[in-house]
Amino acid sequence: MLFSSTTFLAFFLPLLILIYFAVPRKLRSVRNFVLLAFSLVFYGWGGAKYLLLMLASIAINYFGGVLVGAFKSTKARKLCLFITVVLNLGLLVWFKYAGFFTEILNSLFGGFPVLKIALPIGISFFTFQGLSYVVDVYRNEAKVQKNPLYLALYISLFPQLVAGPIVRYTTVDEEIYTRRESLSEFSDGVVRFMFGFGKKMILANSAAEIADAAFASQNLSMSLSWVGALAYTAQIYFDFSAYSDMAIGLGKMFGFHFLENFNYPYIAKSVTDFWRRWHISLSTWFRDYVYIPLGGNRCSRSRHILNLLVVWGLTGFWHGASWNFIAWGLWFALFLIMEKYLFGSFLDKHKVLGHIYTMLVVVFGWVLFRAETLSLALEYAKAMLSMPFDTNGQALYYIIQYWPEWILFILCSMPVCRVLKDKLSKSDSFFAKFLLVWGVKAFALTVFALGYVKLVTGSFNPFIYFRF
């Protein structure tokens, strides 16, 4: 089920709210059960057979956590953790990467059957969530969750189930037991959801139309390739951050406080800065569970470089079972290493140049990410760098046709709303207070209404991160 669907907006969410809030607050466990049941329906709506996989993941992490917590000896705890990690990753590797690896084996040795296994939605997200829980239990950073239904709720909670953010167990541990839903937070959550919905429908989907046309073009000129690359840059940000907005908003409606996942990444002044702003939950996950255990930067330079290459190669690989995703991860690793050891301080002193450089790296990176294969990505990048600059009709069409969206792409990439909100908050005037209270809601309703118009009129509604 998608958030941006009639089924979700007209049936699933209203029914959930009705039943959830009909249960008295003091019956926390019943409210949790309602959330869990609806979360399982949410996931199973796309194919009930995949529920078994989710339940298996929950069971692996539940028993893993219980066993890790039960044993006193480090060796035994480590063994339980190891088995749990292997089982978790085993599921992920089977469903997501088996086809990739068998293709490699087939191309090397020939005659090897290439497996084609359907990728269950959200498997990368809920696997990483489960892993983070068990590892945190092992590190004594989280208490063992003895109630399997509560652990199931954590892993399957529908707001962040299929496209993140990756929520650490410690973030929601207490809230599972003791959260307080309030009218104010419910309303704030609704507003956040509406902005996310509008962002998805108005910005992300429009950008997708442009990007898809450019990447499918049979006559890829320099101008069209840039139009497509920039459109995809917009698409992936607005699509993914919109989903995070909706997830955070929905969580808030039910008393959960998920961490922010994006912080205006396209204003970054360096690639390092970019990755502090983009998909924060994923980069911090890899930092805490892969990079630091490998030694982080507290080691020799050569080891540090290796650690970065491993982490970013895995980050790319997490996104997709394809060489171009690995190349995408390593592309960023290259620049992160160069910034760390070569020109990082230069960028600190030259912010405008740093921003331009960062955007170029990011845009070319997205070409690697978007293309179906590495060779297509290279062809596309070649078109972007080809000369002379041409006046391609198709490129011009996509600029003229989507002129309002291009303006919004730029405006909404910048923290305009945040700056405006800060200014209004500092003002004592009635008008400022009025705008903060009523204006924000009116704006959210307008954005939501326009998004709803697009929902009703469109059938074009892809979610990028559903591949993960």
Binding site: L183, F186, A213, G393, Y397, W403, K433, K441, V453
Partner: protein, 394 residues
């Protein structure tokens, strides 16, 4: 306090809207057909174990819920209006909107030339089969190509939009050469129109078909070509013997329909009738129907579409005029034949019409073999020759 009030009002507003939407989807009958989209609306899917397990029920449920959202047409109109009149987008719902004409948006990715050639080759082979079938009993076969809007109004497109040059550069020259090679009488109305100074009536500003005047001009050209050869001659009087009546109703052309009828221009549908009417019987798919060739609207204000001509598309229509001195004619093709048929029946003894998109009783060759019409006329527009979308079973 203000925040609390605003929170409450927001939630009440959304609750009321949500209840309205979900109740309307479930309880209100919004019909089975989307008029403007010209398609069937999705039905509520049946639940089955398989469909729940594989997720197809969820997808079908969403289609149904989306299709039956309340005020859907109003929302579609609102979006089209915003796009056209506020944002002034050049293309709205795949229609190129200019000041006085609505044109189709052509994809920039045209079919690869070799695939186009292959499809055209298949089409030409089918035409050759018809030629052979008709020649076997001494019938006459005329293949008529009419200009599509894209070709006819190519100069009205903004410079940056695609013009389907694959048709003008690839399809047209080859098709002409092949018709000559296989000996088919080819009547190209695009060329004739150029000779006549590209009259507006050969196309439409709001629909992909020609106007009634264009249909009459085309049919008169067919009659002239047929009557040049031996055998029974088709009868068709000159314009002074024809009454042309412009309907008062707004014309909802296929292009206009896609933008929800928001941009009516002055164009109106025209009815052409002989001053001395020819009585006839009409059979639709074998059953006797009303002796009408125009589907008259109930009043002067309801929009009318191209389906006014012959009441739309039937797989097979036979009109009998019981004038044995005149030849029998078979007209086949897609919807461009409809306007022609509204007047062509008066030229012959029996007029048979086959719409290749919906006729499934037999192949075209079998039909020709069975009925042996004296004259067979094919009518296609240039855009459809190499798509095989409407070629049916030859």
């Amino acid at each position: 306090m203000q925040k609390k009030i605003s929170d409450i009002l927001l939630i009440i507003l959304l609750a009321v809207l949500t209840l309205y939407i979900s109740a309307s989807i479930v309880l209100v009958d919004s019909g089975d057909i989307s008029f403007y989209e010209n398609r069937d609306l999705s039905k509520m899917p049946a639940v089955s174990k398989e469909s729940v397990l594989d997720g197809s029920f969820g997808n079908a449920f969403e289609s149904w819920a989306s299709d039956h959202t309340p005020k859907r047409d109003a929302v579609l109109k609102l979006k089209a209006a915003i796009d056209m009149f506020v944002l002034k987008r050049p293309v709205v719902n795949d229609i190129v909107v200019t000041d006085d004409i609505l044109l189709p948006y052509n994809s920039f990715n045209s079919m690869a030339t070799d695939e186009q050639q292959r499809r055209l080759g298949v089409f030409i082979e089918e035409v050759e089969k018809v030629q052979k079938s008709v020649s076997e009993y001494g019938g006459k076969f005329v293949f008529v190509t009419v200009p599509s809007q894209t070709v006819y109004y190519s100069s009205s497109y903004p410079a940056y939009l695609a013009l389907r040059s694959d048709v003008t550069d690839v399809v047209i020259p080859r098709f002409k050469a092949e018709m000559q090679r296989i000996g088919v009488t080819h009547l190209d109305m695009l060329e004739k129109s150029k000779d006549a100074g590209n009259p507006d009536y050969m196309s439409s500003k709001t629909d992909h078909h020609y106007s009634m005047h264009g249909a009459v001009y085309t049919w008169r050209s067919v009659v002239d070509v047929v009557n040049e050869s031996k055998g029974k001659s088709l009868y068709f009087p000159d314009d002074s013997a024809i009454d042309y009546t412009e309907l008062k109703n707004p014309y909802l052309g296929s292009r206009n329909r896609k933008i929800m009828g928001l941009k009516y221009n002055d164009e109106r549908l025209v009815r052409a009738e002989l001053k001395e009417p020819v009585p006839f019987e009409r059979y639709n798919n074998g059953s006797l129907g009303a002796p009408l060739v125009y589907a008259e609207p109930e009043d002067d204000t309801s929009p009318v579409a191209y389906t006014y001509y012959m009441g739309g598309d039937f797989g097979n229509t036979v009109i009998k005029t019981h004038r044995e001195e005149l030849p029998d004619v078979l007209i086949y093709g897609a919807s461009f034949t409809n306007a022609i048929e509204s007047i062509a029946y008066s030229s012959c003894d029996e007029m048979h019409s086959i719409d290749l998109r919906s006729y499934n009783e037999s192949t075209l060759s079998e039909y020709i073999k069975e009925h042996k019409p004296d004259v067979v006329v094919a009518v296609f527009d240039w855009s459809n020759l190499a798509t095989l979308d409407e070629s049916g079973k030859f």
